[in-house]
């Protein structure tokens, strides 16, 4: 029994953190955000050199063949720096979907290019997680049509992974899709509305139960989002503790005031167990099938709650400075807020956790 990261895993995460410290400073994020740039090509290329995009892609297809726990550690690192690069759709959900439901030919066609970073893939699974009143996405022969309201990582995407309302998975090329960019509070990730009109699609049908595949890759996505929130929240806590140890008022460092100290302690006490929850959920996805969905839902929901709590309290610790654009704390705040809603709100995913346990 060993519930800890291996040396390799610690090294992997540290390597990504080091890279981000160099190439994804707050100035970089700020510059990207001001240009609505959510795929920083330099950063994306440096990550590709480390093989990050191929984390979950097997070596046979040019990837590194690691597991979700490793991807979660990377997502955590990216969240900690509010990195302006696609990952959760492009490097977690899409490769897993192609791997689980694609034919050899489809895998050969897409995976090596995703692994190398030559192409990127946006994802449009929203209609399956919770359809809005837009036109449903349906298939007719080799084409799909409809509107995907809330696609993720759309900017500069070469292809999209689209789920039909029936739960089939398709890949379409972005040149055949009309992308209407939407603007959320979070400027570090891009979302958009996709309109498909008889769009030729590459149907990932090499599996017995497509909706099972879809549910499974959504599990993975939820764990990765939870990990991203973990990283973002940890940074906010670190910044709050640092600020509380420096800023003086009434001739005292504000961290010596209990009201401030206790906010920091509460954040730490709430957040630290979340790390174990994310690890466990990722590990369950990899190796404990019967607990995977339950823990993915709990990780997603619980991190959404704790993330919001930390984001709010950490902002408060910074006083007026926390509320300004000057400090940039709001980038983390907004990242956590978008994460909370992606692939299901806490209430929504807790309900799935209830279903899984036969409680509904």
């Amino acid at each position: 029994m060993d519930f800890a990261l291996s040396e390799e895993q610690q090294y992997l995460q540290q390597t990504v953190m080091d890279l981000l410290a160099d190439s994804c400073s707050l100035d970089v994020v700020r510059a990207d955000a001001s240009e609505n740039q959510t795929k920083n090509s330099d950063l994306f290329a440096s990550l590709a050199q480390l093989g990050i995009q191929g984390t979950l892609i097997s070596e046979d297809y040019g990837g590194v063949g690691l597991r979700l726990i490793d991807a979660a550690l990377i997502a955590e690192a990216l969240g900690s720096c509010v990195a302006t690069v696609p990952f959760i759709g492009n490097s977690v959900i899409a490769p897993l979907a192609i791997d689980l439901a694609g034919s050899d030919e489809q895998k050969n066609n897409w995976l090596p290019r995703l692994a190398s970073g030559e192409i990127t893939c946006g994802i449009a699974l929203g209609e399956h997680v919770g359809a809005r009143d837009n036109d449903p996405i349906t298939r007719e022969k080799d084409t799909i049509s409809g509107v995907a309201m809330f696609a993720l990582e759309v900017q500069d995407a070469d292809i999209f992974l689209v789920a039909t309302n029936e739960g089939e998975l398709h890949i379409v090329e972005s040149q055949n899709v009309h992308v209407n960019p939407l603007f959320s509070i979070d400027k570090t990730r891009s979302i958009g509305e996709l309109t498909l009109e008889g769009t030729p699609s590459d149907h990932l049908a090499h599996c017995t139960d497509p909706s099972d595949v879809l549910a499974r890759v959504v599990d993975a996505g939820r764990v990765a989002i939870a990990a991203d929130t973990l990283g973002a929240s940890q940074t906010m806590l670190n910044k709050a503790v640092e600020y509380a140890g420096e800023r003086q008022q009434f001739n005292r460092v504000i961290g010596s005031f209990q009201a401030v100290k206790h906010m920091c302690a509460e954040m730490a006490a709430e957040l630290e167990p979340c790390r174990s929850l994310v690890w466990y959920a990722a590990h369950a996805y990899d190796t404990i099938a019967q607990e995977a969905r339950l823990t993915a839902c709990h990780a997603k929901a619980h991190l959404a709650e704790v993330g919001r709590f930390v984001a709010r309290k950490a902002t408060e610790v910074h006083g007026g400075m926390g509320f300004t654009d000057l400090l940039g704390l709001h980038y983390w705040f907004k990242r956590v807020e978008l994460n909370r809603q992606l692939l299901g709100t806490p209430e929504f995913v807790r309900n799935i956790a209830a279903e899984v346990q036969g409680w509904t």
């Binding site: 029994m1 060993d2 519930f3 800890a4 990261l5 291996s6 895993q9 726990i69 503790v241 509380a244 140890g245 005292r252 460092v253 961290g255 010596s256 005031f257 209990q258 100290k261 206790h262 920091c264 302690a265 509460e266 730490a268 006490a269 709430e270 630290e272 167990p273 979340c274 790390r275 174990s276 929850l277 690890w279 466990y280 590990h283 190796t287 404990i288 823990t295 709990h298 929901a301 619980h302 709650e305 209430e347 807790r350 309900n351 956790a353 209830a354 409680w359 509904t360």
Partner: protein, 405 residues
């Protein structure tokens, strides 16, 4: 990351399960207290003591206490301790004890050979029970300000003063007690740690009724109580440091994730069986969502516990994951009891052996008791101070003395 148990541990677990299946019927019910000497039957050990003895023989209680002091004498192995706690909790069988999880480790760490021989064997057999005489009316969170005095007279210490909130003092055979022996020394350096029998002349115990309606703790008054000088653990004036050894052991016991998981299962059972308007409470989406929020927290604490355990096995300092256990664990238990009460509605308020009372009034009992545990053993606010200062490195508050100087 590997959550499989190696064969050694799997075998250990299997044997324990087998043991529990075979011997479960011998385990006494949830007796909260040990009988006093007066109640004690003269003809040998009572059922609780026999159960404890059986557990020690099999290595499921007093496991790491050396054989020469009556223990099982195994090498410390946090994972085996964890398996024992988990399996007893799952089987809902009363676990064994290690005498007293505060006193015995302290004596083993800092006591003399004579003291170990005198105190440890009867404690772990359940023949010598303990109470903790720390808090005083004027010294709670600021424990080091305590004023109960002990002066040397010949071969004895002579104690005068008062303790309060002393759990179990009315039943305990012995007390471990903090007293001021060096009134002129700085406050942390004038304290000594004494152990003595509750039968000594001059000790008066007055039970205090708590909000649960039971008298679980007491006031204890000392008037010229004589305690032989060799009943001090550690050196004179070093009692504060001796006590901290004990407090460390106590904190670790509060907020145990196994207990939280058991409690969670009980709430699930309750929500599936209790009905309102003919429908189980579980079918109410609002209650259910609250249950799931608690499950998320419970699981996070359970896995946090696994992380602490892994660090301990590797002899690494667990750090933050351990610092938060008392605060978060006790709070979680309290909130679970609250959830159970709320799903029962008015029925959840029934108490005092009322008709229709559910689960023997256990949820109300726990709801209140857990609030006591949030306060006792270092209040939630003190826990937050410690997390802030020791784990996050935030500055302490300026001291009043420093300000006026």
């Amino acid at each position: 990351m590997d959550l499989e148990y190696s064969t050694e541990y799997q075998t250990f677990r299997d044997e324990l399960r087998e043991f529990l299946r075979e011997h479960k019927h011998l385990s006494p019910g949830a007796i909260v207290r040990r009988p006093t000497e007066r109640e004690q039957p003269q003809d040998g050990p009572n059922p609780a003591q026999r159960w404890q003895q059986l557990l020690i023989e099999h290595g499921y209680a007093a496991r790491t206490i050396p054989k020469e002091y009556g223990g099982y004498g195994a090498e410390p192995d946090p994972l085996k301790n964890h398996i024992i706690a988990e399996e007893f909790a799952k089987a809902r069988v009363r676990p064994g004890h290690s005498g007293d999880n505060r006193l015995v480790p302290t004596v083993l760490e800092l006591g003399t050979e004579d003291q170990k021989q005198w105190l440890v064997p009867p404690s772990i057999r359940g023949e010598m029970s303990w109470c903790q005489g720390y808090s005083e009316p004027g010294s709670g969170s600021d424990l080091a300000s305590l004023t109960t005095r002990a002066e040397v007279d010949g071969d004895d210490f002579v104690i005068n003063g008062q303790k309060i909130w002393t759990s179990g003092a009315q039943y305990a055979d012995m007390m471990f007690c903090l007293v001021r022996t060096e009134p002129d020394a700085p406050k942390h350096q004038g304290i000594s740690y004494l152990v003595f029998s509750m039968d000594r002349p001059g000790i008066e115990v007055r039970p205090l009724v708590t909000m649960t309606g039971e008298a679980t703790f007491n006031e204890v008054f000392f008037t010229d109580v004589r305690v032989p000088k060799n009943q001090i653990i550690g050196k004179r004036g070093e009692g504060w440091f001796v006590a901290n050894t004990t407090l460390k052991h106590e904190r670790e016991g509060l907020g145990d994730p196994n207990q939280a998981e058991n409690r969670f299962r009980e709430i699930v059972e309750l929500m599936e069986t209790e009905k309102v308007d003919g429908k189980p409470i579980m079918s109410n989406a609002t209650h259910r969502d609250r249950l799931l929020q608690l499950q998320g927290r419970m699981l996070a604490m359970k896995y946090n516990g696994m992380r602490v355990l892994t660090s301990q096995r590797k002899h690494e300092e667990p750090g933050l994951p351990r610092w938060i256990i008392k605060l978060q664990g006790c709070e979680l238990n309290h909130q679970m009891a609250a959830m159970a009460i709320d799903s029962l509605g008015e029925l959840g308020t029934l108490y005092h052996r009322s008709d229709h009372m559910r689960a023997g009034g256990m949820w109300q009992q726990r709801f209140m008791m857990d609030l006591g545990l949030i306060i006792g053993g270092g209040t939630a606010q003190i826990q937050k101070n410690m997390i802030g200062e020791r784990a996050l490195g935030l500055p302490k508050e300026p001291k009043i003395e420093e300000k006026s100087a």
